[in-house]
Amino acid sequence: MSEPVPLAEYLASKPSLKFFFTGGKGGVGKTVCAAGLAYHFAESGEKTLLASLNPVHSLSSLFEQELWGGVIKPVEGVRNLYAIEVDIKDRVEAYKRQLAEKLRWFLKWADIPVKAEPFIEIAATNPAFEESAMFDNMIDIMLKEGENYDKIVFDCAAVANAVRLLGLSKIYDLWLDRMIKSREEALSLRVRLSFRKDKAMEEIRKDPMMRDLMDMRERIKEAKKIFNNPDRTAFFFVTLPLALPISVVKRFIDMVKGFDIPVGGVFVNGVLPKALAMREGAEDYLKNKYMEQEGYMGMIRRDLWPLVRAMIPLYESEIVGVKMIAKLADDMMKWKPGVEI
């Protein structure tokens, strides 16, 4: 098995990379790794945006400053670093409005003389909304903010959500294709059943539903181009030296590959340093922990080794605040295979 390429080298070899994602099981430190990565870019002079796609954001608590509100804010204390906690509320509301409008329009168009409001109300609660909204926002950031920043780091939600989020690009494509096809069929049926064909054709050209669907497909196509490009995008997985997170990452990597998303590598977080655990007179507690960790490290070596980009030590205190993030970024960049932590 080949030796891993450390993060510093990896990044140096791929200067065109622009979009970075971090994902992994809950609680493994996805957000801190994303923050560390972003900090590193910003400090090296690149204008960087850190975007949290979590349903529950933690950037504000991580940086100990107010970053919420769904807008891009500069991070105090770090040059060139900007952050956003992506808010889906507005977009979900907008979706609801759009759907309501379309539905009302349709009911009128189809001559259904029923009060539409209660139905619209219910229709607008489709749970797919939230997921789509998050996805839409992510694409928005990629497409719109891509020009304004040198690097954009996304902190994805826990594995399942992240896969769904990324997978959506593929699923959405299928789904959109179907919707567009249904709509086309519906509209051609409309033309066939109309005696005023010209008028029906005109209606079709103006069909707001179709326009929206096509727009959406276009956007996703564009996003996918970036998404699936290994020179532009890299997805990093975060794990702890523990069985559960490792197996999650293993599964996760397969899924992500299935979606043609380029894998950037794996960060192993929370590694108990050997020097600390095995020093003379160290507690049995730490020793036991370390022994267990060795087993899992073996697992990592066996299954993930070429993908490992960094190992991050377990710190004495929680990672909160710019200082800790700076330390973490430093450790991430410093790691090389064979060097004890």
């Binding site: 349903p55 529950v56 608590s61 769904r164 559960l244 197996s247 999650v248 160290a282």
Partner: protein
């Protein structure tokens, strides 16, 4: 001392559902598994159900459970991990079978089949399928107690609010159907036929609703359902928990308790040679423990130590269960 987990369960004999909710990675799944284990040891028949698509029950019990249906991992300890994709595929097949049976046809029209096929691609399909599986297991009522491990936030909340939404849906649809049926009956009367129309769709709708209502009622009735959160003594976890409490409030759900997990044993401090690493770590945790006690005292049901081994395998689950239920206020490593 607040009521311990064991005391809580002893005081709630009608309890049928236990839900562990909250952020991922804090030990929800472990806590669910341990709870299920404990109930099974007390002569109950528990079912541990992971709705978290991260599916880690397989890892915890070191057995491939994912998508295999209900499995008895230890004597009268039942576990299930839903494979939503598989379930959707089965569901699609059910729909096809129903169509074949209803219309006595072999081949399903292409248009219809394509609709069925592509429905799986709709973004909300996964969630609905998992949710339905949950409701179905609950409705069957084959187990004494159900332990749900709910996926990280947003998601978990939606599962509950979705019941309300669908309820409203079905209300509206039922109304439409009922009105349509009324007209149809009036037509029949006008034609001199004493037709009592039985609407199959209405029957199906009522069936869906019955299941949902049962599910929601079970979940929102504090007598039959308890919600727990797992927390670790760290700043971000505390903030998250506070937010979660607000959300619970909004949904009208009362939190039954909090389990504090991954506590480094403070007894380690007694060792004069303690490494600065552990010392700092423990001191930081103790600081947050104080905050946790101040903020959530009434909710705390058990303290669980940071084990020196990852809590997986039946032996470790037994150990976690012991800490959670038998020695809820001790965090020493054995």
């Amino acid at each position: 001392m607040p009521k311990s987990l064991k005391e809580f369960f002893d005081a709630s004999p009608e309890l049928r559902i236990v839900v562990y909710a909250g952020k991922g990675g804090l030990g929800k799944t472990t806590a669910s598994a341990a709870t299920a284990y404990w109930f099974s040891k007390r002569g109950k028949k528990p079912l541990c159900f992971s709705t978290d698509p991260q599916a880690s029950l397989s890892d915890i019990f070191e057995r491939d459970i994912f998508g295999k249906g209900v499995i008895e991992v230890a004597p009268s300890l039942y576990v299930v991990e839903i494979d939503a994709d598989k379930r959707i595929a089965e569901f699609q097949e059910e729909v096809r079978a129903k169509i074949r049976e209803l219309y006595k046809i072999e081949k399903i029209p292409d248009e219809i089949d394509e609709y069925i096929r592509t429905a799986a691609a709709e973004p909300a399909m996964h969630e609905s399928a998992t949710y339905d599986a949950m409701a179905e297991l609950l409705a069957k009522g084959e187990y004494d107690i159900y332990i749900f491990d709910m996926p990280p936030f947003g998601h978990g909340v939606r599962m509950i609010s979705m019941a309300q939404i669908l309820d409203a849906w079905i209300d509206k649809m039922e109304e439409t159907r009922r009105k349509a049926a009324e007209y149809e009956e009036a037509v029949a009367r006008l034609k001199g036929l004493s037709a009592k129309t039985e609407d199959e769709v209405l029957v199906e709708l009522r069936e869906i609703r019955r299941k949902l209502d049962f599910f929601r009622e079970s979940l929102t009735n504090p007598k039959t359902c308890a919600f727990f959160m797992v927390i670790i003594p760290e700043k971000m976890a505390i903030l998250d928990t506070e937010r979660a409490l607000e959300m619970f409030d909004k949904l009208g759900i009362k939190l039954s308790g909090i389990i504090v997990n991954q506590i480094y044993p403070p007894s380690l401090l007694e060792n004069p040679n303690i490494s600065t690493f552990l010392k700092n770590r423990i001191e930081m945790q103790q600081k947050y423990m104080k905050v946790i006690w101040e903020k959530f005292e009434e909710y705390i049901r058990a303290l669980v130590p940071m084990f020196d081994r990852e809590p997986k395998g039946l032996d470790m689950i037994a150990k976690v269960a012991e800490h959670m239920f038998e020695r809820p206020w001790e965090v020493d490593v054995i």
